[in-house]
């Protein structure tokens, strides 16, 4: 049986028929972090749509320097450079583009409907298989670039997951019992992303946020959110125009959550 079906730029380019996203590709065997490299390229005027992908990240990152496990050949670890002509306060909304595009691609290829967990974790059967960490730089109140960093656990078996996260993490292989071709998944995500990005440019963020909500079963439900040292409980009412969570707390107040973890 074939152990590794490597993701190479030749394979990606031969199957990708997008106009913007993936027109320039940096594919590595091993890199510290695709986001860090992509940001450096973006600061040196890399074109919009540039994709940086690696078979292994040695310093894959999550929020607040948490580590993101990115083992060789097991997943898709990649970053996409976007340069939207938009004002800085809108930057956070572009992360929904990433979450929605991955959810749509996984559903299309596997028939499994992932859950989006605010702001943009992706779960299968309640366990996380995809994380999105983005970075932005601004200039004179406008977005200079947004780096969408996406990590998808694709081909892990249960024993491949480190013990520390095996309770909360999963992979597409574990949940679908199927070895999904990573190049095919990447190409589907990038195509979806291009389509959704065009949609944002013509129709604004409403359609993307609407799709996002359709993948979020916790909407309108009672939830707990931890923001720094405080836990808020209430009904997840809606997203506001910045993508912040509107939580109707149990004392009837509407609270805006800008960043936090589900408790």
């Amino acid at each position: 049986m074939k152990q590794f079906d490597l993701v190479t730029d030749e394979k990606i380019k031969s199957q990708l028929n997008t106009k913007l996203i993936g027109q320039e590709i940096y594919a590595f065997w091993k890199i510290g972090s695709t986001n860090t490299f992509a940001r450096q390229r973006a600061l040196h005027d890399a074109p919009e749509g540039t994709v940086v992908i690696a078979e292994e990240q040695t310093q894959g990152r999550g929020r607040m320097t948490r580590q993101w496990e990115s083992q060789f050949g097991k997943g898709l670890w990649f970053s996409v450079i976007l340069r939207p002509q938009d004002v800085s306060p809108k930057a956070g909304l572009y992360t929904f583009l990433a979450g929605v595009s991955v959810a749509e691609a996984v559903e299309q290829l596997c028939g499994l409907r992932p859950e989006l967990k605010w702001p943009n974790d992706l779960l299968l059967n309640g366990k996380k298989f995809c994380g999105i960490l983005s970075e932005a730089d601004f200039q004179n109140g406008h977005i200079r670039h947004v780096i969408l960093g996406i990590g998808i656990n694709v081909d892990h078996k249960q024993e491949d997951l480190p013990n520390s996260i095996s309770e909360s993490a999963t992979s597409i292989r574990i949940e679908s019992n199927w070895r999904l071709d990573r190049v095919k998944l990447l190409i589907t995500v990038l195509k979806r992303m291009e389509k959704n990005y065009e949609l944002i440019q013509t129709k604004g963020f409403d359609p993307i946020l609407k799709t996002w909500k359709s993948y979020c079963p916790r909407l309108s439900k009672q939830i707990k959110v931890r923001q720094e040292h405080t836990i808020y409980e209430g009904i997840f009412q809606d997203l506001d125009e910045h993508g912040c969570m509107l939580l109707k707390t149990n004392d009837g107040q509407m609270r805006k959550i800008v960043a936090g973890d589900f408790a």
Binding site: M64, V87, S88, T95, I132, G141, E228, H242, V258
Partner: protein, 159 residues
Amino acid sequence: MNPKEIQKLIELVEKSSVNELEVNRWGRKVIIRKQSGNHAMVSIPNEQVFYASNPAAPVQPAAAPAPQPAAPAPTPAKDYLVEVRSPMVGTLYRAPAPDAAPYVKEGDKVNKGQVLCIIEAMKLMNEIEAEFPFKIVEILVENGQPVEYDQPLFKVEKA
């Protein structure tokens, strides 16, 4: 336009239900805009924005001007101080990790490009960098606090 005239206009706006007043004279434009929180000023070439307190309605982020932290703020008392403002709604972190030392503290002299803090929204991290060399006089937001668009984060003195 002399300071007395501007003062009168600010008072006028503050007492009224109008949120923004724009006056053009001799090719100079003065905008007086209501904002919650502190009185603050931003001046940009050929255009001056003066903020009045007590907004009648929340300031719409999209309508606000591009933040210009590099511009001098001609406040009467401390006219050498400049405010660094938030480019987005989010949560401010003063350190790269919960147990790490803060990027900067009051009294620090920072170089252009040095990271001052991180603002996070939707797991999008934005490192706020110094746009010019300065000394940090006052840190206005604590670690982990939510910040609004255009909210002053630091008071700094140009080096």
